[in-house]
């Protein structure tokens, strides 16, 4: 458990520091690179939470596709390279973000999350899951089939709606950047 704790603290510190760099750095390109680092470390956190499939999706979509899009946009809009001052809301924004953080932490501590006493690790026996009578196996030893069953059975309508959303987003993006009329 100690090595897991060490991994968690390392990744938590790197996440927060690189996320702060994203919002504080003057150079937009460096901010984007820090964002890629944040995405990769968050993928590591997903592995720590035994969500391997989500970690792979995170690396493919966030660290791959979304970062490339963002770097493209930075390169195509060159004037943003010349430094980036904050707007006049800098200190109010800082206060608001701190208040939001305090409020969320307070609510998190006060709420009863109905959680198990300790994590169910991938190798744990079925009894640890707390559902032996229903015949449920330890889902964390292999999450991908469980996710597939949920996606294609219980969540099949949102799944189809997501494909329509992606199609609409592609058409909208094409219509927006098309040269010519407009």
């Amino acid at each position: 458990m100690l090595s897991l704790d060490m991994a968690f603290w390392t990744m938590a510190v790197v996440t927060v520091v690189s996320a702060a760099a994203v919002v504080l750095l003057k150079d937009v390109f460096r901010a984007a690179l820090c964002l890629v680092l944040t995405f990769m470390v968050v993928a590591g956190l997903f592995v720590l939470l035994s969500a391997e499939f989500l970690a792979v999706v995170q690396v493919l979509i966030y660290a791959g596709a979304i970062s490339i899009l963002i770097i493209f946009a930075i390169m195509l809009t060159r004037d943003v390279h010349q430094g980036n001052p904050s707007n006049r809301f800098r200190y109010p924004a800082l206060v608001l973000a701190a208040l939001l953080l305090a409020a969320i932490v307070l609510v998190v501590i006060k709420t009863d999350w109905n959680q198990l006493d300790s994590r169910v690790l991938p190798g744990a026996p079925t009894e640890a899951v707390g559902a032996t009578e229903t015949g449920v196996k330890n889902v964390f030893s292999n999450t991908t089939p469980v996710i597939a069953r949920l996606l294609l059975r219980d969540f099949v309508l949102p799944f189809e709606v997501a494909s329509v959303l992606l199609l609409a987003a592609i058409l909208g993006a094409l219509a927006l950047v098309r040269e010519g009329e407009g």
Partner: protein
């Protein structure tokens, strides 16, 4: 390492994102901050799936939907930013006030 740790980490990431959205002027940097906030939400969902929903890991499925919506959102936002830059030669959100009255 407990659920609380992950939730506080996620709250910190979300607050950093909120600060970025409010304090930055470049539309690109605002978009980066929104991505940070979406990632914070995903950490929260997956941590709850791992600690409190160990029979049906619904949080992981909802995280997949969040990632899908984020991908669509980035594509559209990039199109809008490029269009804006072509029109005004600037991506400063303070310059974009044509829809204000």
């Amino acid at each position: 390492m407990s659920l609380l740790h992950f939730q506080v980490l996620s709250a910190a990431l979300f607050a950093i994102g909120v600060y970025g959205v409010l304090a930055r002027r470049s539309a690109v940097l605002i978009l980066l901050s929104i991505e940070l906030m979406l990632n914070a939400v995903n950490i929260n969902l997956i941590a709850l799936a791992a600690y409190a929903d160990t029979v049906r890991i619904t949080g992981q499925v909802i995280a997949i939907f969040v990632i899908t919506v984020a991908a669509a959102e980035v594509g559209l936002a990039m199109a809008i930013i490029l269009r804006l830059f072509r029109h005004r030669s600037s991506v400063d959100v303070d310059d974009v006030d044509i829809m204000k009255w």
